[in-house]
Amino acid sequence: MFPVKELKRSLLISIWFAFLTFPIMVIKVDAIERTVAYRWDNMFFVAFGSFVISILAKVFILRKERRAGLKKVKKEIAEPFVQRILREPRFLYPLSLAVLVFALVFPSIFSTYQTNIMTTALMYVVLGLGLNIVVGVAGLLDLGYVAFYAVGAYSYALLNLHFDMGFWAVLPIGGLFAAFLGVLLGFPVLRLRGDYLAIVTLGFGEIIRLVLENWNAFSQGPSGIANIPRPGFFGMQMSFESGITYIYYIVVALVVFTIFVVNRLQNSRLGRAWLALREDEIACQAMGIDKTKTKLIAFSLGAFWAGLVGVIFAAKTTFVNPASFTFLESAIILSIVVLGGMGSIVGVICGALILILMPEYLRALSEYRMLAFGGILVVMMVFKPDGIISNVRRSYRFKKQSPKQVNES
């Protein structure tokens, strides 16, 4: 079943990897004691490991190809199972209801700790959906999304510190601040295309973080702001556990609200303008779409969600400092969007849950955790470049016959 040629190829691969990892895996020097240790056993592991993995990968690819060959024959029914479920209201409504019910009873089934990390994951769901508007739908690559998140978090921290404003008052304000900043940033950079936009947004994200770090009089610098109150509930004092549960429900509500809004947006006139903009700017302008306005709205709307989640972040952690808003954070949110499937709401939700919960549950791997994280990111992209759940464009078909007849013909 497995040709000798492939075995030979795998052997070559394993020799290559043994060579590749030789200096870093095998040699370990101590520059002070001036000793060298050769860890030959590592070389064996690398060679053996890469041999096995290359064979497995080959088998996987062969099977995939065979299946792809089959798929071509009956393309009409080969639409992914998930997509079918998502399109059919008959399945979709009960399913989402079940998910919602599960989300609502979650805190009473699982421990406070589980609720807490689920809250974090859900916050990233909202962040991912927000960035999805900018990157996935409007096609503007934003590498500095975390800046808006920081603006939201600091809005609450500072307004609370100086003016003693409460969570609920600041929640919309934080969102609006971030949206305003999105417009402010959007104006100068709208002329830029693709990757130039990416680096400018990256720079912008860094600038915001550096200002927060260095401007002590404004933001208290790197030591951050502590003792930010948790959200109140009509002035009721809450115990620690119920406080966490309460924030959890706030975030669940926000997620539902976000899904609703984003879903409506995508099918609106504006949403279609975004899609058109993503596909072809010039053609889009020729169709009479105001490019500037459309892009600015995408930017500010995306920023708005980040601002909202920022406020919740500050309230949940009760402490903010600039170290929480680094480029890596932006990269992770972007990974959520791309990994989940650009433009697809369900995809982004899956992406966020996987990427945020994975490191928590990978704790068992302890120090190999981030290694696995990076590796999984690469493997997922290589095998599913469209994301876990790729977005299918809404298409309208003129149906003369019933679907059954189409299949038979």
């Binding site: 590749l20 000793t35 972007l334 290694l371 999984i376 992209m381 470049p385």
Partner: protein, 300 residues
């Protein structure tokens, strides 16, 4: 005036360092349009390889010149090997994928390589052997331009010149230019595009490795994390100069290095990065494709 000259040379050194890394970014981008986030990690691996080789050789008592040459070669060879492998594993399967998929794959690769070095070696900072000796003839001006500054400047210039020759006059250089202009057309005239892309990664990685060796020797320490910041800065420099353009990457790096140096010297190092990024934004507003980048005209 003395102070100005001091800052100027400081900026020049810094810019040359950025340039060695930025070239790899810009070459890869020019050919396949990918921001290779793992490039900073290739630079780090180059620095680590030269650290390991140089330390081993110095323990075995090799003379300094031999150490420098062998460590440099080893760093270039292994970095190229990593660059080649990363391209094959993480980018080649994604060549027809949506535009952002390779970017995420690159970010994943970057995290993976960082942690790989962290686990296989150590999380501690390590002392990098002084590979560039203090030249006696530099002593009178050492407070302005040190020996390592001199070596960095000379090496960068040499690398720049030979790279330009390679691109301009050799067959593979011609193939690279053709591939960068139009991949489909390049295939039609009989260019093996896969091989050209591999060659680009190999050359870019080798340059980064030389950069790694020089910088590590200049600042005297390395750890697994040095690739990240250097990578971001070099990427900024490449975009500043016009990504895809080789002279642009050099010019952008020098402008960035000088800006940072003068910003620290005359204003405050608190905001050195703010200056760097603000400059980038300003330049891109007035020249949206960077200093030397070609303006994109899109036909419909």
């Amino acid at each position: 005036m003395d102070y100005f000259i001091e800052l100027f040379f400081g900026g020049l050194t810094r810019g040359s360092i950025y340039a060695l890394i930025a070239l790899g970014y810009t070459m890869v981008y020019g050919i396949i349009g990918l921001i290779n986030f793992a490039h900073g990690e290739i630079y780090m691996i180059g620095a680590f390889t030269s650290f390991i080789v140089a330390t081993v050789l110095s323990i075995y008592g090799f003379p300094l010149l031999a150490i420098v040459v062998i460590a440099g070669l080893a760093a270039a060879v292994w970095s190229s090997a990593y660059g080649f492998t990363v391209e094959k594993l993480a980018y080649r399967p994604l060549r027809k994928a949506p535009r952002l998929a390779p970017l995420i794959s690159a970010i994943g690769m970057s995290i993976f390589l960082q942690n790989y070095v962290l686990l296989a070696q150590t999380s501690d900072f390590l002392p990098f052997p002084e590979l560039i000796p203090e030249f006696a003839f530099m002593e009178p001006v050492a407070h302005v331009v040190g020996s390592s500054d001199l070596v960095i400047l000379i090496t960068t210039t040499l690398v720049m010149v030979s790279l330009t020759c390679l691109i301009k006059f050799t067959k593979i250089g011609k193939a690279m230019r053709a591939t960068a202009q139009d991949k489909t057309m390049a295939v039609l005239v009989g260019i093996n595009v896969d091989r050209v892309i591999s060659a680009t990664f190999i050359i870019g990685s080798a340059l980064a490795a030389i950069g790694g060796l020089l910088i590590a020797s200049h600042i005297g320490q390395i750890n697994f994390y040095i690739g990240f910041i250097a990578g971001i800065k070099a990427f900024t420099a490449a975009v500043l100069g016009g990504i895809g353009s080789i002279p642009g990457a050099v010019l952008g790096s020098l402008v960035l290095g000088l800006t940072e140096s003068f910003a620290t010297g005359y204003v405050s190092s608190d905001y050195e990065d703010v200056f760097a990024f603000s400059l980038l934004v300003l330049i891109l507003i007035f020249k949206p494709s960077g200093l030397l980048g070609k303006a994109e005209t899109k036909k419909v």
